[in-house]
C-alpha cells in the first residue's frame, strides 16, 4: 500500500509537469488546428536560457523572468516567421515548418550549450516529508500547486476575460472573428507567447525536479505533450491536465506494477486503447465547447 501511494504521488508530480507542457501545446492546436512540433524545443531552449542566466549569477527569479520574456519572444517570433505565412496553406506545410524550427532550435542549443546533461541549481525547496512511510517532497508540492494554480488561471482567462472570449471566437470562426474587429494576428501571437511561457514554467519545474537540463528534452517533451494531449483530448485545456496526469500515473504505475522495461510500451498501448474507444480522447466530447 505504501508503495502504491508513493507511486501515485510521484506519478501525479511527473504528470503535472507533462500537463503544463501539454496545455501550451494544446492551446495552439485548439486555436488553429495546427500541431506545433517545435513546442518542446521552445521549452528546452528557454529552460537553457534560465540555466545560462543562473550560471552568470543572475538571481534565480530574475533568471526565470528573463527566461519567460525570452520564451514569449521566441514563441511569437517562431509564429511570425515560420507559421503565420503558412496559416492558410495546406495542413502539411506548417507541420514541416514546425519540424524545421524544432531542428534549428535543437542544433542551436547543442552548439551553444553542448550535448551534455547539465544539473539545474535551484532555490526551490528540496526538503521532504514522511507521512506513514510515504515520502512527499517539497518540490512535488510546489509542482502540484503550480499546476493547479495555472489550471485555475487558464480556466478564468479563457472563460471569463475578453481575451478568452476573443480566443474562443477565433477558434469558432476565424474569418468572422476578423470581421467583428478582433486583431486575430495579435491574439494568435499572444497564444504562442502564453504557450511558450507555460512551457518555460514546465521546463523550470522539470529541470528543478529532475535536476537536469539537456538538449533532447525538447523532443521528449514534444512526445510527452503530444501523448498527454491525445490522451486527454486534443485541443482541450481540461483534457491537457487530465491527459498529463494520466500519463504520469500510467508511467509510474506501469513501471511499478508491470515492468519498468515496458514503461513506454504500456503508455502507448493505453493511448491506442483510449483512441479506439474514444477517438477524441478522454475529454474529446467537450472539445467543441472548449478552447
Amino acid at each position: 500500500m505504501i508503495t502504491f501511494v508513493q507511486q501515485v504521488i510521484n506519478g501525479a508530480a511527473a504528470g503535472s509537469v507533462y500537463a503544463l507542457l501539454a496545455v501550451g501545446y494544446n492551446m495552439v492546436y485548439g486555436l488553429l488546428g495546427f500541431i506545433n512540433f517545435a513546442h518542446g524545443d521552445l521549452y528546452m531552449f528557454s529552460t537553457f536560457i534560465v540555466l545560462a542566466m543562473v550560471t552568470l549569477h543572475v538571481p534565480f527569479w530574475g533568471a526565470v523572468a528573463v527566461g519567460m520574456v525570452a520564451a514569449c519572444f521566441l514563441g511569437m517570433s517562431v509564429e511570425r516567421i515560420a507559421y503565420r505565412p503558412l496559416r492558410t496553406a495546406n495542413r502539411i506545410a506548417p507541420t514541416v515548418s514546425a519540424v524545421g524550427v524544432a531542428l534549428v532550435l535543437e542544433n542551436a542549443a547543442q552548439v551553444i550549450w553542448g550535448p551534455a546533461t547539465r544539473p539545474f541549481p535551484t532555490p526551490l525547496p528540496q526538503g521532504l516529508f514522511r507521512v506513514d512511510g510515504v515520502v512527499i517532497t517539497a518540490m512535488q508540492i510546489v509542482i502540484l500547486l503550480t499546476a493547479a494554480a495555472i489550471a485555475v488561471a487558464l480556466r478564468v482567462g479563457v472563460y471569463h476575460t475578453s481575451w478568452g472570449r476573443k480566443l474562443r471566437a477565433i477558434r469558432d470562426d476565424l474569418p468572422t472573428a476578423e470581421l467583428v474587429g478582433i486583431s486575430v494576428n495579435r491574439l494568435v501571437s499572444s497564444v504562442y507567447a502564453v504557450g511558450a511561457a507555460l512551457g518555460l514554467i514546465s521546463g523550470v519545474l522539470f529541470a528543478a525536479y529532475y535536476n537536469s537540463v539537456y538538449v533532447t528534452m525538447g523532443l521528449t517533451g514534444t512526445l510527452n505533450a503530444f501523448t498527454a494531449a491525445v490522451l486527454g483530448g486534443i485541443g482541450s485545456i481540461g483534457g491537457s491536465f487530465a491527459g498529463g496526469l494520466a500519463l504520469g500515473l500510467l508511467q509510474s504505475l506501469g513501471a511499478g506494477y508491470i515492468s519498468s522495461g515496458y514503461q513506454n510500451t504500456i503508455t502507448f498501448v493505453v493511448l491506442i486503447v483510449v483512441l479506439l474507444l474514444r477517438p477524441n480522447g478522454m475529454f474529446g466530447k467537450l472539445t467543441a465547447a472548449r478552447a
Binding site: K166, R168, A169, D172, T176, A177, L179, V180, G181, S183
Partner: protein, 252 residues
C-alpha cells in the same frame, strides 16, 4: 459622384486572385445614413467588394476612403474601430459562445466598458428574444434568431456603416421581409447600410441607390427606383414574375 461628404468612397478598385480577375476598376459611394445596395449574380464580384471594404483581400489598384480618410492600408480591426461593421454572409455567429458573448464581441473594438453595457441593453431592447436567451449557445438557436443575433452584434459597435452580405440568403420569405424592415429601422437611426444582395427585388425596395455588378464590373448604377425600371435590369434580374413571388436564386 465622389462628393466630399460621402461616408464610404471606393474608387477604381481591382481585386485579383492570382490571375483570376474578381473586380476591375469598380467604384461605389455610400452617403451618410443612406442605404446602398450592390446587386449581381454568382461570381459577379459582390463578395470581393465586401472583402475589399474590410481589407481581407489585397487591392491591386484603387483606394478606399471612410469619412475622407484613406483606409485601404488599414487592418480589419482598425476599420471596424473606425465605424464599419459587418453582418457576414450565412449568419456567421460564434456557435460555441453564448448569445451575450457574441454581442459583447461585436463591441470588441470599444474601450469603454460602460458604453458596452449601455449598447448591450439597447440591443436587448430592440431584440427582446436575445435578452431572454443571452446565456444560450448561439449555435443552438434557429436560423432566424441567429440572423437577429448577427444584426445585433453589428449594432454593438455603434457603427456609422453596416455592411451586410446576402442577408436574405436561405431565409424564408417572412424572414426576408423582417430583415428588410430591420434595415429600414437601422437607416432611420442614421446608420448607413451597404447591402450586397442577389434578391434584387427586395433590396431595391428599400435602397436609395443601387449598383449592379456583372463579372467584376459595374454594369448599371443609379437611384434604386431608376435601376428597378431599367430595361437591362428587368431582363437580367427581375424577370417577369410579380414582385411578391420573387425568390432568391439558388445559394452557391
Amino acid at each position: 459622384m465622389a462628393s466630399s461628404d460621402s461616408l464610404l468612397e471606393v474608387r477604381n478598385i481591382s481585386v485579383y486572385y492570382g490571375s483570376f480577375r474578381a473586380l476591375e476598376d469598380v467604384s461605389y459611394t455610400v452617403g451618410p445614413g443612406s442605404v446602398v445596395c450592390l446587386l449581381g449574380g454568382n461570381a459577379s464580384g459582390k463578395s470581393s467588394s465586401m472583402k475589399a471594404i474590410f481589407g481581407t483581400v489585397p487591392l491591386r489598384t484603387g483606394s478606399i476612403r471612410f469619412e475622407g480618410q484613406r483606409i485601404d492600408g488599414w487592418t480589419t480591426a482598425k476599420r471596424v474601430a473606425a465605424g464599419i461593421a459587418a453582418v457576414p454572409e450565412g449568419r456567421r455567429v460564434f456557435a460555441n459562445l453564448s448569445v451575450r458573448e457574441n454581442l459583447e464581441l461585436g463591441a470588441c473594438t470599444l474601450r469603454d466598458g460602460r458604453a458596452v453595457r449601455t449598447y448591450l441593453d439597447a440591443v436587448f431592447d430592440q431584440f427582446p428574444q436575445l435578452r431572454e436567451r443571452q446565456g444560450q449557445m448561439a449555435g443552438s438557436m434557429s436560423g432566424g434568431e441567429q440572423q437577429m443575433l448577427a444584426f445585433g452584434r453589428a449594432l454593438m459597435s455603434r457603427p456609422k456603416l453596416i455592411c451586410m452580405d446576402e442577408p436574405s440568403m436561405g431565409m424564408s420569405p417572412a424572414l426576408v421581409s423582417r430583415n428588410f424592415k430591420l434595415i429600414k429601422s437601422i437607416r432611420e437611426r442614421g446608420t448607413a447600410v451597404f447591402v450586397v444582395e442577389q434578391n434584387a427585388r427586395a433590396a431595391l425596395k428599400i435602397a436609395d441607390y443601387a449598383y449592379v455588378l456583372r463579372t467584376g464590373s459595374v454594369m448599371l448604377r443609379g437611384p434604386a427606383e431608376q435601376v428597378a425600371t431599367d430595361p437591362q435590369m428587368q431582363a437580367a434580374y427581375l424577370g417577369h414574375t410579380p414582385l411578391a413571388a420573387t425568390v432568391p436564386p439558388a445559394a452557391h
